[in-house]
């Protein structure tokens, strides 16, 4: 029994170290990335700031679509990175997902607004058509087609590894 107790002193940290080792080496494989190509779903939704309706046909060119919500902690974490993308001239369309308008506006006022425009998807219909399972998720749209999709927080590393190769290949954002 005493031996067991002594052993557990060693085994406990070893198991923690193992877990961290697995997690650290796992991270490179991007389980959240998805490169299947499909058309941007047909939708007609209201814009967050002025309640004007907008349809998928109104959106032109290349852009990034980012699913976010004021209740989503990870969105708050990736927010500064979106701001830096926007600053570098990448247009970002926000999909405000299952949110309350007043919360969303307050959230934007607190943390800044990197989005070119934001659509209200409060029933989650557009998100459902796009295959969204939660927030945040980010889509790369090339001439009306979704060409890459990432579940989870976007940062410099993810952007360079997951999105940048496709952007280069297709010559987007020029």
């Amino acid at each position: 029994m005493k031996k067991l107790l002594q052993l557990s002193i060693i085994i406990l940290p070893i198991s923690f170290f193992l877990i961290f080792f697995i997690l650290l080496t796992e991270e490179n494989q991007f389980p959240g990335a998805d490169y299947r190509e499909f058309d941007l779903p047909v939708f007609e939704l209201k814009i967050l700031n002025n309640d004007v309706s907008i349809a998928n046909s109104d959106l032109e060119g290349d852009y990034v679509m980012n699913v976010w919500a004021s209740w989503c902690i990870t969105c708050r974490i990736e927010h500064p990175y979106l701001a830096s993308l926007a600053k570098n001239g990448i247009p970002i369309i926000g999909i405000n997902y299952k949110d309350e308008k007043i919360d969303a506006l307050e959230w934007l006022s607190k943390y800044g607004n990197p989005y070119q425009l934001i659509v209200q998807d409060y029933k989650g219909t557009l998100a459902l058509d796009m295959g969204v399972t939660g927030a945040p998720e980010t889509f790369l749209v090339n001439k009306g087609k979704i060409v890459a999709h990432y579940e989870g927080e976007i940062n410099d590393y993810v952007w360079n590894q997951v999105f940048d190769p496709i952007i280069q290949e297709r010559g987007m954002f020029k």
Partner: protein, 628 residues
């Protein structure tokens, strides 16, 4: 050029630290070897010190040929923030961390005489740890990388949220606390290697541990205070992973301080004490790993580089596992054969160790469990306040009750502990009556809040009575213990009442109109555009009046920083001893009104006051002349 000198000096010091480590652990010690080790350590420290000073000077004088300084500083910044930009990101923070580690070693080196048998090995272990971290710094996260041949004219600025005095001093204080526990750790390892159970290492490290604990306490409190007024969320603790990894070593260290006491007084609990000193330092290292590897998303998320994480993980596991193996192999020599007397102070403190161990372990689970879950089921979950509250509240209440009854207990003696004495009765009576008043006045429906207020009051009244006895009847009282535990009671009461009474609300107000909230009238008087040194600001002017007609002005701001385009909210807070009125301003709505978030936070100042009081108790102990 100068940056290369700094780089070179840190490489030399790495080599010297390595020599010190090898010498002290391989050569049989005599007075000559000891003084050699001591002097070589001092020289190595001198090199690292100069290297760090040069780096500070480079940052202060805007040397943007250094990549790191270019990325995180800017010539528009005040000098104070130019220097604090060193610890605003990964490489510089790591450099500071290592520098502080070497400072602790140096102070220990000059404060402890060479005839102390554990000194050479302690210095050697500190040196080897330094070597590991210096290699990590130089290989994976080099702060000395330069931009050549042409240096940029201006820097890219630091994160505006970090441009704040509390934040500039919060990380250094916290790091001083973290790395300070290298002293008890290294001493306990030296003691285990030495293998002589008669050496009293516990006495040697007591004040060092208390000093590190004071820094950690102050560091955590400053962080909490900063988050309150800067982030604009209005709370004092968010159970954020980075806060948790600071709280874990704090809890373990608090247990260590108690346990050290027992080991010094009666050489009981020595295994506990050694295990705790290993645990505290391991948790500090674990904290560095969690923060630096970017394995966890948090508001503090720093550079994300798996390579760094793997190096840190490997190095930390070597330290932790080798010290635990050593601990187990020497278990027989430190084991105390006599049993602890039931109802003695020792027994209470060993129970306290178990409570604190449980708390630490449950935070560890809270940090690690979401990671495992995400790995296995590919779903993000978050373990938040409900989990921690469910564990912390009952354990803290129980621990405080034990504390309450332990005050009369004696060292190594079973006798003399009565369950009911006059002081106990008096403090029970006072606490019950105050709790009853609170219960009826505020119509409290949550039983746990009431219970924690009650136990907090018990502790406060019990110690006040003790202080009374000591002042007027010259009864012996340990001032450190009394003040620290008074602070604990105060902390319990203020946290409970804060969570019970505080409220918040988002209001829509137009300029020149007013809204009512609770018994306050909020007038929105004016909106101005201001210019700061590196930002634009919208400043809203409010006048707030209570029912009695007493009023005050509050002016929250929204700032847009030029270099990064980042927008921050500046809170406006009206402080009174009882409550804070906390105002932030949001966006303008289509009808021209503004979103104004108002919070009334009760007793929040008392939470930080209690924490500082605890740290103050530690300072009393450090500065006291008495040996114990």
């Amino acid at each position: 050029m100068i940056v290369e000198v700094s780089h070179f000096l840190s490489i030399i010091s790495t080599g010297l630290f390595f020599l010190v480590g090898c010498f002290s652990l391989t050569i049989k010690n005599n007075s000559y070897v000891t003084s050699l080790i001591s002097r070589t350590y001092s020289h190595a420290f001198l090199f690292l010190f100069i290297s760090f000073l040069i780096y500070v000077w480079l940052a202060a004088t805007d040397n943007f040929s250094v990549q790191y300084i270019y990325n995180h500083s800017n010539s528009d910044l005040p000098v104070f923030y130019k220097i604090s930009s060193i610890w605003s990101a990964h490489e510089g923070s790591m450099f500071l961390w290592i520098f502080f580690l070497s400072v602790w070693g140096f102070v220990f080196n000059i404060a402890i005489k060479n005839n102390q048998i554990l000194k050479p090995k302690t210095i050697g272990i500190i040196s080897l740890i330094l070597v590991g971290f210096l290699l990590f710094l130089l290989i994976t996260s080099n702060p000395f990388t330069t931009i050549l041949p042409i240096a940029p004219l201006n820097g890219a600025d630091i994160n505006p949220v970090l441009q704040d005095p509390a934040l500039a001093i919060h990380p250094p204080t916290l790091y001083l606390g973290y790395v300070g526990f290298v002293i008890p750790f290294a001493c306990s390892i030296a003691f285990l290697i030495n293998g002589d159970p008669d050496v009293k290492w516990e006495k040697l490290v007591r004040k060092w541990s208390v000093s590190a604990w004071v820094f950690l306490t102050v560091g955590i409190t400053l962080g909490s205070w900063w988050a309150y007024y800067e982030l604009g969320w209005g709370g004092y603790w968010f159970w954020d992973p980075v806060e948790n990894v600071a709280l874990m070593p704090w809890l373990a260290a608090t247990a260590l301080l108690h346990s050290l006491n027992v080991s010094i007084k009666s050489s009981h609990l020595r295994t506990w004490t050694i295990l705790l000193s290993i645990t505290v330092f391991s948790l500090s290292l674990f904290g560095a790993f969690i923060v630096r590897s970017g394995i966890i998303d948090s508001v503090h998320s720093f550079a994300n580089d798996p390579q760094r994480g793997l190096y840190l993980l490997a190095f930390i596991s070597v330290i932790v596992l080798s010290s635990l193996c050593l601990f187990i192999s020497r278990f027989s020599i430190i084991k105390n054969l006599s049993n602890i007397k039931i109802f003695s102070k020792e027994s209470f403190i060993s129970i306290n160790n178990i409570f604190f161990g449980t708390l630490t372990f449950s935070i560890m689970l809270g940090v690690v469990y979401p990671l495992i879950y995400e790995y296995l089921f590919d779903q993000k979950i978050s373990v938040g306040a409900p989990f921690y509250n469910a564990i912390f509240i009952p354990i803290v209440i129980l621990a405080s009750l034990f504390l309450f009854f332990s005050i009369d207990s004696k060292w190594s003696r079973n006798i003399g502990l009565k369950i009911f004495t006059k002081p106990i009765g008096l403090s029970l009576l006072l606490s019950v009556s105050v709790t009853t008043i609170i219960f009826f006045y505020f119509e409290v429906s949550k039983i746990f809040i009431l219970l924690s207020v009650f136990t907090g009051l018990l502790v406060i009244f019990r110690y006040l009575i003790e202080i009374w006895f000591s002042l007027f009847y010259k009864k012996y009282l340990n001032p450190f213990s009394a003040i620290a535990h008074l602070a604990l009671g105060l902390l319990l009461v203020s946290i409970s009442l804060n969570s019970l009474l505080s409220t918040e609300r988002a209001l829509n107000i137009k300029i020149n109109e007013f809204e009512n909230y609770k018994d306050l009238k909020i007038y929105f008087n004016d909106l101005r555009v201001n210019k700061g040194s590196n930002y634009d600001a919208i400043r809203a002017e409010f006048y707030i009046e209570d029912k009695k007609g007493n009023g005050f002005n509050l002016s929250p701001e929204k700032r847009r920083y030029f270099t990064r385009g980042q927008i921050t909210t500046e809170t406006a807070i009206h402080v009174t001893p009882i409550k804070d009125v906390y105002l932030t301003i949001g966006d303008q709505l289509d009808d021209g009104s503004w979103i104004v978030n108002i919070q009334i936070n009760f007793l929040i100042r008392w939470i930080w006051f209690s924490a500082f009081l605890m740290a103050f108790a530690g300072i009393i102990l450090i500065s006291s002349r008495r040996r114990t």
